[in-house]
Amino acid sequence: MSFSFDLYVTHRSWLHRVDPRAKLAFVALGTVALLLFKNLWVMLAALVALHALVLSAGVPRDRVVWVWRAMLPLNLLIPALWVIFYPEGDQVLLRFWFVRVTALSVMRGLALALRLNAIAFVWFSWLFTTDQATLVRSLVKLGLPYEWGLVLALGLRYIPTFYGLFGVVTDAQQSRGLDLSEGRWLARLRAYLPILVAMMISALRTSEKLGMALEARALGLPGVQRTAFREISFRLLDYVYLAVVLTLFATLAFLRWRHGFGVHPLYLLAGW
């Protein structure tokens, strides 16, 4: 039973080769840019572009489907809540009880949901194409203290381990007659106690040994400047990528502020 929280897609695409710092710039600016717009068509265009980006990086289709499936609850919830609580405009499509469904609020709700999907894809374009070690390494290069980076890396590394441990401990306690299926939620919560305590003890043992293992690899050797095995450096591809990202962002921001582009939920330019 292998299990991993690693989102990384093992592949050698152009996007995999881009420096993680450049990709991080895209994540930051892309998120901000998407937050600037509320227009349905802009969001659809952004999603098409992001799908093209992710697929060109060799991300398999089922991963893309996985993202949509993960986002599904939000995609249903956001438009529904928006429609119920923020009716606006005169064009009423439907009326029942106290709810007034207007065309404009439907558009806005949809645009918001799509915006969230677009932001998710911006982030996943980074996580799918950057392995965790490189990711942490880039954060350290950007100024995160090495120890913090190590802690982050260890955290990511041990998630699947503890997940597996949870499964084994649950099996072991159930074999001793522990019933997890009966009772109200408080009783159920109590039933998990034997699992959580046993896990805690095992986790403590693991972390103590981990500490020894880290020291055995000379971690924190006094008077030595730590070197790095993984080389990450900006190359032509990275500069091009960054330039495209910056240009795109500047253009969009200009259109947004100067011409009110993409502010209205339905019309691309205000007043159309």
Binding site: S175, E215, A218, T227
Partner: protein
């Protein structure tokens, strides 16, 4: 100067509970290891072998705290005067537990980590990582996550991570315990290659006497906080009774030599299979021809002077623990099947089939061993017997009821399942409460629970620890608490997953005799194990799994005779089985189906006496 000097090392761990006493472990260890030497350290569970290893790189006492006396000097550095991180560049340690010592995302990063700490420039780092990975045959796996490797591969990566740092001393703390036979073989193949590296001093802690005998220049035995015995493998392994008292598992051929010497008056010293085969083949070959000279007998292990006399009847040899394999399934009063498996298939989510069309019956009261490599489907199969897994296809019936219709809780009344690692179930503040948990889950209360707990405590000799926190007990005791906790639920069928892993010789004997007793009382015992010695000695029936299918199933004696099956399943039978087989093949007329040292001694004695030659000499 010696590479390692341990001078009057005394160490106590800090108290486990507030206001408690420090826990003394080492009480005056004296040890010197020369450069390039290969030293193995043995000793019972909880005797302080790991503590001694940790003292060699300063982790004890720098990280653990505790009371420390005496000196440890490694590669000229006193561990009191240098931080662990610095000592680590001279002394590499490979730990037993792979999960906690591999903490990187890829194999390559894992091996590079120590070099990064040492500040090695990138170009040199690449070379050293490359070299270390090829030294452990892991270069093709460099980009994989250590998390997804097999047990043997993980330990090889851990070794590479140390090798890359070019330590002068390499310490390996039970690197193969918990691995399947194939994994063990992989790791030992790597270790044996390191042995020829004259630059490096190697200290190996290991429970497997048989491997130690092959590799070591010297063997040291740690007992009651001190080095009780030290010498060549032959010196040490000739003292079988003493070693057993200390909880040390000796090579099976050394046990044989001991038994032959006692009953046949020989003076054999065997440490490896080859030793035993050569000496016994000689003894057996010269016997029938009658042309044996005194000289050739001496070289075959018979003492100078006194004529060799075959003493000890077969009846005498069978006193003590009865070798259960004498009970043939045909002669057993068989009960009805308690577990019936029909065309069982099982597939974990999104993976290939773990179990493929297995059908078998387990008779009530039988003692069954289920063997095979990791990933052969052993655990998947037995997890169906108590409902932890439900068939993807096919059926499993327990006492006539389909497990698909039963909850794990309902099945727990009939089938007890003891997990491999006791730490995966221990959670109670006292041993008493830990044992009471199962019976309480069955809906029992008050006196009945107390009665069962008291009985379990008595049976497993845990009464003295009844009120101690189980998590703080030593491994051997935790193991027993784990079994006792399931025993108190009084299931009719016991499934035990690797029950002897991590136990010393005494622990194994004690546990197996408890299981034999329970079996004699009518409990059905199912062992999932890699320990072929206990299979040969205790299991009446053996099921060999391979790639999710039953490769062989039958009387243990018959299964161990089929070397073709065992080879396919990559299972190495116990030394004594191999020895008997090799002797039989060389045409000296030994039976091929010997399973235990006692039975071998018996057959050997009968053979020699049958020729009548020795008495005439």
């Amino acid at each position: 100067m010696s590479e390692i000097i341990v001078d009057d090392l005394r160490f106590s761990y800090p108290p486990l509970q507030r206001g408690g006493e420090p826990v003394p472990v080492l009480t005056g260890v004296e040890l010197q290891v020369e450069g390039g030497e290969f030293l193995s350290i043995m000793g019972g569970t909880g005797v302080g072998k790991t503590t001694l290893c940790l003292a060699l790189n300063g982790t004890v006492p720098q990280s653990t705290g505790g009371r420390f006396g005496g000196d440890v000097v490694v590669a000229g550095l006193n561990t009191k005067e240098h931080p662990v991180a610095l000592l680590a560049s001279q002394v590499g340690i490979v730990f037993q537990d792979a999960e906690s010592q591999l903490f990187n995302m890829t194999v390559e990063d894992e091996v590079a980590f120590g070099l990064e700490s040492l500040g090695v420039p990138r170009a040199e780092m690449r070379e050293r990582v490359e070299w270390a990975l090829s030294a452990v045959e892991m270069a093709p796996h460099r980009h994989r996550s250590p998390f997804h490797l097999s047990g043997g591969q993980k330990q090889r990566v851990a070794i590479a991570a140390m090798l890359a740092m070019l330590p002068r001393i390499l310490v390996l703390d039970e690197p193969t315990s918990g691995l399947d036979p194939a994994g063990k073989a992989e790791v030992f193949r790597v270790i044996s290659r390191l042995r020829h590296n004259q630059q490096m001093t190697i200290v190996l802690v290991e429970q497997e006497g048989e491997k130690i005998a092959e590799f070591s220049d010297r063997v040291a035995v740690l007992h009651e906080g001190q080095i009780a015995l030290i010498g060549s493998p032959a010196d040490v392994f000739s003292q079988v009774d003493l070693l057993h008292e200390m909880g040390v598992t000796v090579p099976q051929v050394s046990e044989l030599a001991n038994l032959l010497n006692r009953h046949k008056g020989t003076r054999h010293v065997f440490t490896t299979l080859d030793d035993a085969r050569q000496a016994l083949a000689l003894a057996l070959k010269i016997a029938p021809t009658g042309r044996a000279t005194r000289q050739s007998l001496e070289s075959a292990g018979y003492p100078r002077g006194a004529p060799p006399v075959a003493t000890g009847s077969s009846a005498e040899l069978h006193q003590g623990p009865v070798t259960t394999n004498k009970l043939n399934p045909q002669t057993l009063n068989r009960g009805s099947p308690c577990i019936q498996v029909r065309h069982l298939w099982y597939r974990y989510n999104g993976e290939s089939d773990a179990v493929r069309s297995i059908s078998l019956d387990v008779e009530e009261g039988d003692f069954v061993a289920i063997i095979g490599q990791n990933g052969s489907g052993k655990t998947t199969l037995v997890k169906h017997f108590n409902g932890l897994l439900k068939p993807t296809r096919g059926t499993v019936q327990v006492y006539g009821q389909d497990t698909a219709d039963l909850s794990i809780g309902q099945l727990a009344r009939q089938v007890g399942y003891v997990f491999q690692n006791p730490d995966h179930q221990i959670f109670s503040p006292t041993v008493r409460q830990e044992i009471a948990f199962g019976p309480q889950n069955l809906g029992l209360t008050g006196d009945e629970v107390d009665r069962r707990v008291a009985e379990a405590l008595a049976r497993f000799h845990l009464a003295a620890h009844a009120d101690a926190p189980p998590a703080l007990l030593g491994y051997g005791l935790r193991r027993k608490v784990g079994v006792a906790a399931v025993y108190a639920m009084r299931p009719r069928v016991f499934i035990l997953d690797e029950p002897t892993a991590g136990l010393d010789w005494r622990g194994v004997q004690e546990l197996m005799s408890l299981l034999s007793d329970m079996n004699a009382e009518g409990h059905t015992i199912l062992l999932v194990t890699h320990d072929m010695r206990i299979v040969a000695k205790h299991a009446r029936r053996t099921v060999v799994l391979h790639e999710g299918k039953v490769l062989a199933d039958g009387n243990t004696r018959a299964v161990f005779k089929r070397t073709d099956w065992l080879t396919r399943a990559r299972i190495e039978p116990p030394q004594i089985v191999q020895l008997a087989r090799q002797l039989a093949l060389s045409g000296v007329g030994m039976p091929t189906d010997v399973l235990t040292v006692e039975a071998f001694c018996d057959a050997y004695g009968a053979h020699l006496t049958g020729q009548g030659v020795l008495h005439e000499l």
